[in-house]
């Protein structure tokens, strides 16, 4: 219960008291059981994975791997499937992150109000976090079922257009449909982060502004948003990264279909690596994903930080 308040009661006082007397050797001994596996099974594979993008590595035993420089990347540029899948990845990650942010901001503002049933919304908003992504995928597949699904039934009852559509198999609707699922699945993290940010804003600021006659909207714009800025930047950046790298949800929903219309970069890379055994090419795709993420985030953060300056 009082973990957080405990942290406040006993602040981290002096830097001077060197580590409550942990010697270097002791520290190393305590760190090694965690550090060694991380180095061996996470850091080293990552470094090697980045390097594999510059090789012709293939699946199978006893295959020799050669360094081939930028050949994979030259092939990538001419690969229409690669260009399509990265376009889809950017549309998917951008839309999911943006919609999720707007919805989560609205929800977290509502949750700070003294409303009845607020507990229910709070609990429901957290449920997707606990669900395996495979189950989220299965659940929405059932919702989207053309005949037996609830979505089309609601459309039929409301005499609305679209009740005949097989959402996940339709060339133009498959991507919007999986984006909707992505938004639903990612609500918890974004809502929790924004809610924590909102609770960190001191009430005096709002009270002072209210005394000065500021309207609700003015206070939202001049107090809430600027105060939330660091949290907003952090969570939208993380959401974008997570979404661009996501795999399980869309794998279960569509396996990248119909005709590659929902083939996110990770699905494309997975197929290249583990269906066709092109380890080098798949790693090159991974490298390209890192570059795309870095470039997008650099532009985003640079733009946002310039606004404040």
């Amino acid at each position: 219960m009082s973990v957080a308040s405990g942290a406040r009661r006993f602040p981290f006082r002096s830097r001077g008291r060197a580590g409550a007397g942990i010697s270097g050797a002791e520290a190393a001994l305590l760190l090694i059981p965690a550090l060694l596996p991380i180095l061996l099974l996470s850091v080293a594979p990552l470094v090697r994975g980045i390097y594999l993008g510059f090789t012709d590595s293939r699946a199978g035993f006893g295959v020799h791997t050669h360094f081939i420089g930028l050949d994979n990347f030259r092939a990538l540029v001419h690969d229409q499937l690669f260009i399509d899948s990265f376009k889809i990845g950017l549309i998917w990650a951008g839309s999911v992150t943006a919609i999720q942010f707007v919805l989560a901001l609205g929800l977290s503002l509502l949750l700070t109000q003294p409303l009845r049933l607020r507990w229910l919304a709070r609990a429901l908003a957290l449920v997707p976090w606990a669900m395996p992504s495979v189950v989220v995928g299965i659940m929405w597949k059932l919702v989207f079922q053309p005949q037996a699904g609830v979505l089309n039934e609601l459309l039929r009852r409301g005499h609305l257009p679209g009740s005949e559509i097989d959402w996940l198999a339709n060339f133009s609707w498959a991507l919007p449909a999986v984006i909707l699922v992505g938004v639903w699945a990612g609500m918890p993290q974004t809502t929790v982060a924004l809610l924590a940010g909102l609770q960190g804003i001191r009430d005096e600021l709002h009270e002072a502004a209210a005394v000065d006659g500021a309207t609700t909207f003015q206070r939202f714009r001049t107090i809430t948003l600027p105060q939330l800025r660091p949290v907003i930047l952090a969570i939208t950046s993380l959401d974008f990264i997570w979404n661009f790298n996501s795999f399980g949800l869309v794998y279960v929903l569509t396996e990248g279909g119909p005709a590659g219309k929902t083939q996110l970069p990770m699905l494309f890379a997975y197929n290249q690596g583990f269906k066709y055994g092109a380890f080098g090419y798949a790693s090159a795709l991974g490298d390209a994903m890192v570059v795309v993420i870095a470039v997008v985030l650099a532009f985003y953060l640079w733009g946002r930080l310039k606004e404040t300056a």
């Binding site: 219960m1 973990v3 957080a4 405990g6 942290a7 006993f10 981290f12 580590g19 409550a20 942990i22 520290a27 305590l30 760190l31 059981p33 965690a34 596996p37 991380i38 996470s42 850091v43 594979p45 990552l46 090697r48 994975g49 980045i50 594999l52 609205g106 509502l110 700070t112 109000q113 409303l115 049933l117 229910l120 919304a121 429901l124 908003a125 606990a130 669900m131 395996p132 495979v134 189950v135 299965i138 659940m139 059932l142 037996a148 039929r156 639903w184 804003i201 709002h206 609700t216 809430t224 795999f247 399980g248 794998y251 970069p265 990770m266 890379a269 997975y270 790693s283 490298d287 890192v290």
Partner: protein, 280 residues
């Protein structure tokens, strides 16, 4: 926090909005629940209703008795339990050092946690697959547990170290003055005070492993080793369209453990996360 000048109108609007959120968040869950209680005839009926007209438990019986779902659930239970125990055992001493020594190691460690988020799993999984194959650990639960441990460790270290920081050093110093060894301090003083943090860590690692899909998909081949998410995904591919009822029932059953555990820890989880984030 935001008090409107026209309270009643604003309040009504807020309730309308809240209702929209509740519908959006709840209706897929309700539909899953509904399908899981429907018999085969009702599932292919043209105008499906949300409340089953002829509710049956047949789907649940099938989920538990057929298709090796139960066997996969036991595999998942084994893998998730081992992951939870191993991760906590290995993470606790390291988190203690990270919290108590504000040195280079801590900064590199925490930097890595953030950086590692940026890399797509494909870059890690291929070399990892090659390495584990050489050690004959692909297609085995041992290999999977090791991978899950490493995968869960960064976040767990982050969480645990924020719990360690909330324990006052004076207690440790008093114990040192009384002649206690480091091990005695860790086991006798720190561990009991950290109990809530340790429980959260155990449950979090369990849920992470229980829900995981990608590594299992790549690493496991033998059907008798498959974990539950993998089994469910295969189920979708083969029979999903034909047998929606059992699919919905097993999907729900697969969610129950993580949902229960998550309910227990979510309050602590968000607090541990946030206090860690604030104190950096």
């Amino acid at each position: 926090m935001i008090v409107s000048s026209r309270p009643r109108v604003a309040r009504t609007g807020q309730y309308a909005l809240l209702a929209c959120y509740l519908i959006f968040l709840a209706f897929p869950l309700l539909w899953l629940l509904s399908v899981s209680f429907k018999g085969p005839r009702e599932l292919v009926a043209l105008h499906p209703s949300i409340i089953p007209s002829d509710a049956t438990l047949e789907n649940y019986r099938e989920a538990f008795t057929q298709n090796g779902i139960l066997h996969s659930a036991l595999n998942s239970l084994k893998v998730a339990t081992l992951t939870a125990l191993l991760t906590t055992l290995v993470g606790l001493p390291a988190a203690y050092v990270l919290a108590r020594r504000k040195g280079l190691v801590s900064r590199i460690g925490l930097g890595w946690i953030l950086l590692s988020q940026m890399f797509p799993l494909i870059l890690i999984i291929i070399p990892l697959f090659l390495l584990l194959r050489r050690l004959h650990l692909t297609d085995s639960h041992t290999g999977l547990v090791l991978v899950y441990m490493v995968w869960a460790l960064p976040f767990i270290l982050w969480m645990l170290q924020s719990y360690v920081r909330s324990i006052p050093r004076d207690i440790e110093e008093a114990a040192t003055a009384d002649g206690a060894t480091r091990l005695q301090i860790l086991v006798g003083i720190i561990a009991p005070l950290l109990a809530p943090g340790i429980v959260v860590t155990l449950l979090f690692a369990f849920v992470t492993a229980w829900n995981e899909f990608f590594f299992a998909l790549v690493l496991l081949q033998t059907p008798s080793l498959t974990t539950l998410p993998l089994k469910l995904a295969q189920f979708v591919g083969i029979e999903g369209v034909v047998r929606l009822g059992p699919l919905a029932a097993s999907a729900l059953v697969a969610t129950i453990p993580s949902l229960l555990l998550f309910t227990v820890i979510q309050r602590w989880l968000t607090r541990g996360l946030m206090s860690g984030a604030v104190k950096g």
